[in-house]
Subunit: 246 residues, 4 copies
């Protein structure tokens, strides 16, 4: 590059070239090691695996909606009423998975490199996520049953715990990020990751005494989420660090 | 770049460098904020998720074709006759999903950036799409039943509504596009997105009184689509804005 | 670029700049139209969808292997014997899908741009491919039944026909290719795409009279394929155009 | 480039341009052949297919966890106890698939080009991997049955054999790698790929006499793996070649 920028400095260029050639052999191993490290830390395949898993989860959810038995004279309303619990579980789970994917995309927009810890935390985050179709199937079949509601809530709490773990791990390691986050930004992101977990914990806790309230909490959560995003975005000017993650 | 292009202007270059270094520190935060914004608005993962969902939907459709009971002496025709309704529902749904994917690809060829609204509209578009294997399973099992045909048509109408919503949202926001569309192009695209929705609405409405006609409409729609594309492409010279989206 | 390469020609550069600015406004629309055309013809999402479909097909095949009923004292051999027909159908279908994917990858290594025809031919190629898990399930359950073998063979013939159609379509349109193929290369590729189709047609035709031979043909085909690749690669020096596609 | 770097050498540049134009026509065919070869050997689609398969496998595992029959008054513990064997098989298989994916990503970080042999070895590696949901379903249903444990172990051994085959094939062909590995690095990688295979072989062998020990081996393996990684990373300074692959 140097000789492109100062082409009239013929001699300097030659000297620089020689020096670089001299150092080159010594540094070549370092270069290669660094290039390998970059490839090993490239997030591309982590994102490819995660996007694949998210895509499959939201599509597999449909397998839990079973084709109802239709008899001649069955009305549209009757048929829809039969699949209603499954459909409710499908829509809630779909929106939740969508929220998790949006949050995953937002988080990884901050991440430049992945290390082994982050790669494994991401896999361990996908583990409870992959159980979502099972929990949705359970909820679709036993939508009044406290146990089904508790298992569903438990799963959402575990997912939230893993999200918090990834957030803390990644933002604690500035060399993994495109840019260092300051303490306020880290706390803001932590709050955004903790907040749904606490709401789901509430849904889990009330499932035994008030199953209807529990289901309502799971279903209303997305609405709360969209409302809070709208409010936070409205106050974007005052609160830049929240706005970045909504 | 400036010093590469005018290498003889040594002094000017130095001055420029100093000025840039001076401004650099002040502008660095802006730079980083802009780079983060670009990553947050990058459509890459939206497309990865969408392509994954489309790929899974068209492949999951096959799960609704159940292996028939074969007895010795069963002819090929008899076996095919048994799976015929499932196969018809599979082919119709496959071609429809293919049309949706092609339209999605065409739309996102116009889109340079995604914002939170577009990301969520896309997720809410994938939601009814993911119900297609269920509706296809229903149609494959009850291909004469008005209710099955109405649910299938209802789903196609909802998908069409979401397509129109994405089209209006994206083309109304020039900063999300590679290039601004003029009013004629927007209306042309809107028509192309509305048109199948209206046809499916017809299929939904006649399902009760004439189930055969309804099935015919769903099945013939792709043929109409290919014909209209051929006609529109034939008139490409006169009608550039239609041709872009076919 | 011109002023980088000849920085001493100050005046010429300025003149060129002015001319370009003059023409620029007129040409801008063309530029944008060309950029849009490039994005509309970019094969990236066609490959993403196809790779997704191939990945799902080879993984869905496993769903046709049902967990056998095990009783205490069941030996490993007995258990494996029970799933043997399903396992054979799985392995044959997996290897076939692998061959199709390799051929798809080889073909699209030649393709620079996709047009609407190629996009749709690719979707219509994926259609019979997506029926492979169904045909494998049928074959795994009725591996002695002529009808199952005929349906399996019929599907492979349809897939082969679609492969030939894509090959002819793409290689007939040099503007879609990275480089024009000469007639010998086109014929060689056509032969490689036709050849398995003819073998499967044979398997289909003999299924009624000799089911065992038919199954053998489907299973032995991959072996033939690998052998012919080895032979063709051995003669690479003499026959460059074959070697490119094996 | 030459004329950018030495813009004052006008005549030389022109001469060079003429010579290059002269040679250009002769070399153009070679250029195109080399560009085609690069596209044919590009690992991108191999990784896309593999990531897709891994994503689907870990998500399909959930289909083997069946929704339990819940009766009113069923406690959370009873419900969880019913799905416990399936859940254990799910978690073990998920973590194993995660380990395979991490190892696949590490291996392909070394690989610059794929040839036909590597592409097919990769497909033949994915084959036993795709049987994992079947083996997990078997293990979830018959977690005390020696045969189920032996089939599961057998599958893990086959996967390990394929991993070793890919490692030997790729590292033996320096033209496929970003940089040549020395003998110590190759042996270290071989050991890391062999080691789990030997542990699974032990699990397979003891399954008949001590099924509990066998299940323990499959379940404890990931823990051993994480422990050994931690130890190896601790000794990174001394043992660079191990550290690269952990």
């Amino acid at each position: 590059m140097a000789n492109t920028q100062r082409p009239w400095c013929g001699r300097e260029v030659v000297v620089a070239d020689e020096r670089e050639a001299g150092l080159g052999r010594a540094r070549e191993g370092d270069e290669q090691a660094r290039a390998l490290a970059e490839r090993l830390h490239d997030p591309a395949r982590v994102l490819a695996l995660s996007d694949g898993v998210f895509a499959i989860i939201i599509t597999l959810l449909v397998l839990e909606i079973h084709v109802p038995e239709l008899t001649p004279g069955h009305s549209l309303n009757q048929a829809l009423a039969e699949v209603r619990p499954s459909l409710v579980a499908f829509v809630i789970s779909f929106i939740l998975a969508g929220m998790y994917w949006v949050a995953h995309r937002d988080l990884f927009a901050l991440i430049r490199r992945t290390d082994r810890g982050l790669v494994w935390l991401n896999i361990l985050y996908l583990l409870p996520l992959c159980l979502l179709p099972f929990a949705a199937g359970l909820l679709g079949r036993y939508d009044q049953e406290p146990v089904a509601l508790r298992i569903y809530g438990l799963l959402l709490v575990v997912i939230a715990v893993m999200r918090v773990a990834i957030w803390l791990y990644a933002t604690n390691r500035p060399h993994l990020l495109w840019q260092r986050l300051d303490d306020r930004q880290r706390r803001a992101g932590l709050a955004l990751n903790l907040y749904p977990g606490l709401v789901y914990l509430l849904g889990f806790l009330v499932a035994k005494t008030a199953p209807g309230v529990s289901l309502l909490i799971y279903g209303v959560m997305p609405v709360l989420y969209f409302l809070s995003i709208t409010v936070l975005r409205g106050s974007r000017k005052r609160n830049q660090e929240y706005a970045d993650f909504t």
